[in-house]
Symmetry: C2
């Protein structure tokens, strides 16, 4: 038995934009919840990230498939009344608006708790809900830098940002965990909870490995591109067809297999320059020259096959184009406007894998207003 749509019957209202909260909303929708994305009349600005899907954004499609879209002007008392009516009866309010925006609309957790004791609220911020931190603007890249991620990523000369939206995605996934936990808790207590989640806190936890090395072991490792600061051979090697293979040798047993089965020079494992990892690391340039001489006579595919046969952990240094054609890539399909786009699937495998619709801006506004008007009472 696999996962199904176990959140069927739950309704989520999401005051969301860009990536972090929308990714959480995607995960909720994928698990079966009805996710109502509230947008301003101009739409989530992520609708303009690209024009790759028949003039609409393919990236927006990835993050918003399976949701409903409702346009509301939250400065308009009538529209706000519809939203408040809905918040009396829905299960979850997710948000990642600008600092303070939700509270200014009178939708802070204390106010909502009085009209809906079971409501779960989850507010995503850059740096936290109170004090100086609450006012600081945040974008994915900026939080990466503030939390030290860029200090440990890149080459010795050049720190770099991570090329995927690490902070937003990790935060969205953590928010999803928090909401699932709160649903389980509500099943026990009957009461909702209020979750405050900061992107900085998520990244700080993920930084614990270098942080603890800094605090307790004499220093965080230096940035080292694709190599390792004390293991060899470890890193990228170019093959005869120009392809690159990464390998990692973690033990003398693995080095013996590399020397004998792959390089065809079993004596290397007894060579004092290479017999133990510290020696291998000290003589890593000589070792790399031997490996490169062998690999340069073979295609990348052949090198990978030899390494696999010798049980040496390896990977290809794939481009985005390589990923797109990768035999292991599982695909999901979304329909946006008249277009269909194929993207990498969510990782949790489950029974149904239907094409999901990406909502047109405001496609569900009229139905929403019709559904949530009577509930608002004095």
């Amino acid at each position: 038995m696999t996962l199904g749509k176990e959140l069927t019957g739950l309704t989520v209202i999401s005051l969301e934009q860009a990536v972090a909260a929308p990714y959480c909303g995607l995960l909720l929708a994928d698990a079966g919840a009805r996710v109502i994305k509230i947008e301003r009349s101009s739409g989530d600005f992520a609708r303009g990230y690209d024009a790759g899907a028949g003039g609409q954004s393919a990236i927006f499609a990835w993050l918003n498939r399976g949701k409903q879209s409702v346009c509301l002007d939250l400065k308009d008392p009538g529209d706000l009344a519809h939203l408040r009516a809905a918040l009396r009866v829905v299960d979850v309010l997710l948000s990642n608006l600008a600092p303070g925006a939700v509270a200014r609309m009178g939708l802070g957790p204390e106010a909502l708790r009085q009209i809906n004791p079971g409501l779960i609220t989850c507010a995503i911020s850059g740096y936290g809900p109170t004090g100086e931190a609450a006012q600081k603007k945040a974008y994915d890249f900026l939080v990466q830098a503030e939390a030290g991620i860029c200090a440990v990523t890149g080459t010795p000369d050049s720190p770099a940002r991570v090329g995927v939206s690490l902070t937003d995605l990790a935060t969205g996934l953590t928010a999803f965990c928090g909401i699932l936990r709160a649903l389980i808790q509500r099943g026990i207590t009957g009461r909702g909870s209020d979750l405050d989640l900061s992107m900085f806190d998520v990244m700080a936890d993920w930084m614990n490995m270098p942080l603890l090395q800094h605090r307790y072991t004499g220093g965080a490792p230096d940035r080292s591109g694709l190599t390792h600061s004390f293991v060899a051979p470890y890193g990228a090697f170019v093959c005869g067809d120009g392809g690159t293979v990464l390998l990692s040798v973690q033990s003398n047993r693995e080095f013996a297999a590399l020397s004998g089965q792959v390089l065809g020079q079993p004596e290397l494992a007894r060579d004092p320059r290479f017999a133990e990892n510290p020696a291998r690391h000290a003589n890593r340039d000589a070792l790399a020259a031997i490996i490169t001489a062998k690999f340069s006579a073979h295609t990348r595919a052949d090198v990978v096959a030899m390494l696999d046969a010798a049980r040496i952990a390896n990977a290809q240094l794939n481009s985005v184009a390589d990923l797109s054609e990768h035999s292991f890539l599982r695909t999901a399909r979304a329909k946006i406007g008249a277009d269909r786009i194929d993207m990498a699937s969510l990782p949790l495998r489950q029974g149904s894998n239907d094409t999901e619709n990406v909502p047109d801006l405001g496609a569900h506004t009229a139905d929403f207003k019709a559904e949530f008007q009577k509930a608002e009472s004095p």
Copy 2:
């Protein structure tokens, strides 16, 4: 109301090592579950990652606080019988052993389903549970490269790995989500589920932004270190005290604020070289020189204060040491042996924040064997 320990009463057995499954186990323990970490007699090799906590590993402490440790030799029929007895009655079996290891012990999901219909199994692999992928060895860095993460991270000349265990942590967090979903589903159906989660699938989903740019918008962006491929000003600027500030200007309104309030040159916003973002990007070197001239006369703290006052999104390019002293950093404490270590807290804030104990190797073996022996019946 905040999150409590809502998984209290649930028992998890974790055949775990290194980072991915241990991080999931940590999250389960943090939510209140009893997490029984099964280790070989030599212990999870992560116990040897460093010696920063009084000779034990501070990194191990981060990942394993709040768990129990049970040493079993799973090639010994007696020890295996204890484990099978436990698996009749526990709620979750989590694992990230080498490919095929769990099935070879007779602990595959089909076998366990017969003795415990409510059991939730979650098996983490590198590349998937079947076919060619199932045999491929995986480490965090290698999966980053295979999935294309390194191709979009680093400088134009040098791809780089991400300096935190991105793949392991994202996979552990996703596994936690899957288990929470399966618990909710079990609450509805009374039956467990079997989750297969691959590190490659997790990274492929996280790669959707560059993947979709490659497929639908004419190409993924190039690696660009700390700068942006089409927005300016965006990136790192050095201040008078040597500190670095990152800033990101996303609109003409923000650029007007930067020009007037921060740089003291409001005319720049009307200068044809800088009036619109495409012009700013084309003339980004001239613009950077103007910004650097101003920032070099101030300390980093002063520059950040000026940018905050002008509502220009910014961040510091912090080192690991900076993170360690950061005023926004929330700390958790763990006790390991006679030592206490302070680490970055988990991001979901909850009621209790007690010091958690890190189990000594095998500390709970005797109790485990005493508890789980009668349950095994013919």
